[in-house]
Chain length 199, copies 2
């Protein structure tokens, strides 16, 4: 039910904009009772904040695969995909509508929280990589994060172009290089691994 | 006069939003006659489109310093700076207001044009670097562009953090590595050159 409600919240946002969207509209789309939405999330601001939380990286434990590259790929699999023109259109619409919705402090705070949560998760996997000797001590998780997320924003949201797995790997290798990680063992840095079906 | 008018256009946009902003308001801020603004730019959409054009890289010839790094730094110096908290606040406000203004097709088209113009300029300097042997043939200017601009968006606009010269150099070196450029001769990749006063 929660996933259906949050999807309906984004649909309502994209189609009507933050000013015009209503909890009633979300309830109609999701096929649930308006009262239960108010009780759980208080209003459209609370619903959008929850949708943003769901879009951030997983609320569970950070991955611990024994490799920084694999950890980052696991985190990445929770991001919305943007491989097809339809994915891109949706991502652009959601992003623009969310930016406009940030006039509401509840939504703005959820946005800030999303980035803090991402930084926490990335800091944990980088710390472990430092302990394993994969990257030098002092490797900067903020630099890694900005280099990982930024290029997707420019390609997909700002320029309206799809991002494929090859792009993901190129971005990840550039970001890892910046924090001093050595190239992938075997030198397959620019080959797409099997696990990254979702970019 | 043009620079004053375009600055006034962004001020009006940030303070009143696209829906509420007026050509009269822009004229008052800039101390010019409303009629002359209408004659030259037709309306607020045309004025914003012009402001976006002015924010893109220089409309003159692409730089040709003999070094890809120096060419990119020259292009970068035309970007708005975001070093202080006040710069960041302004950049976030302009970016959010412009995103909301993109409901107007004139503004959306100016946005798309800005990215096409940036890609043209970067393609020229990359082509020359290929001819000089600085980067391998087939180096991808789109990848370079997304890796250069994206991290600034994430750091400054999405996360509200300032970007200093050290960050610029780290981002540039990561992006250059991704397209196969060799490290800077002398190994001073992470030292800030003198010319990058504006980040």
């Amino acid at each position: 039910v929660r996933a259906t409600v949050l999807e309906a919240t984004l649909d309502e946002l994209v189609e009507r904009g933050y000013g015009e969207m209503t909890v009633q509209g979300i309830a109609d789309r999701a096929g649930v009772n308006k009262t239960s939405l108010y009780r759980r999330w208080r209003g459209k601001g609370g619903l959008l904040a929850e949708a943003l939380r769901a879009m951030s990286m997983p609320a569970t434990e950070p991955p611990d695969t024994g490799s920084l590259r694999r950890d980052l790929l696991v985190l990445w699999q929770t991001a919305p995909r943007s491989r097809t023109p339809r994915d891109v259109t949706r991502a652009v619409a959601v992003s623009q509508a969310l930016a406009a919705a940030s006039v509401d402090p509840i939504v703005a705070e959820a946005h800030a929280l999303l980035w803090r949560r991402r930084l926490e998760l990335i800091s944990v996997v980088v710390d472990r990589a430092v302990q394993r000797g994969e990257v030098p001590a002092g490797a900067d998780p903020e630099l890694l994060m900005d280099l990982l997320f930024g290029p997707f924003h420019t390609r997909v949201i700002a320029r309206g172009r799809p991002a494929n797995v090859e792009f993901l790997i190129q971005v990840m290798e550039a970001a890892l290089h910046a924090i001093g990680a050595s190239p992938e063992p075997g030198g397959s840095a620019h080959r797409a691994p099997r696990r990254t079906r979702r970019t």
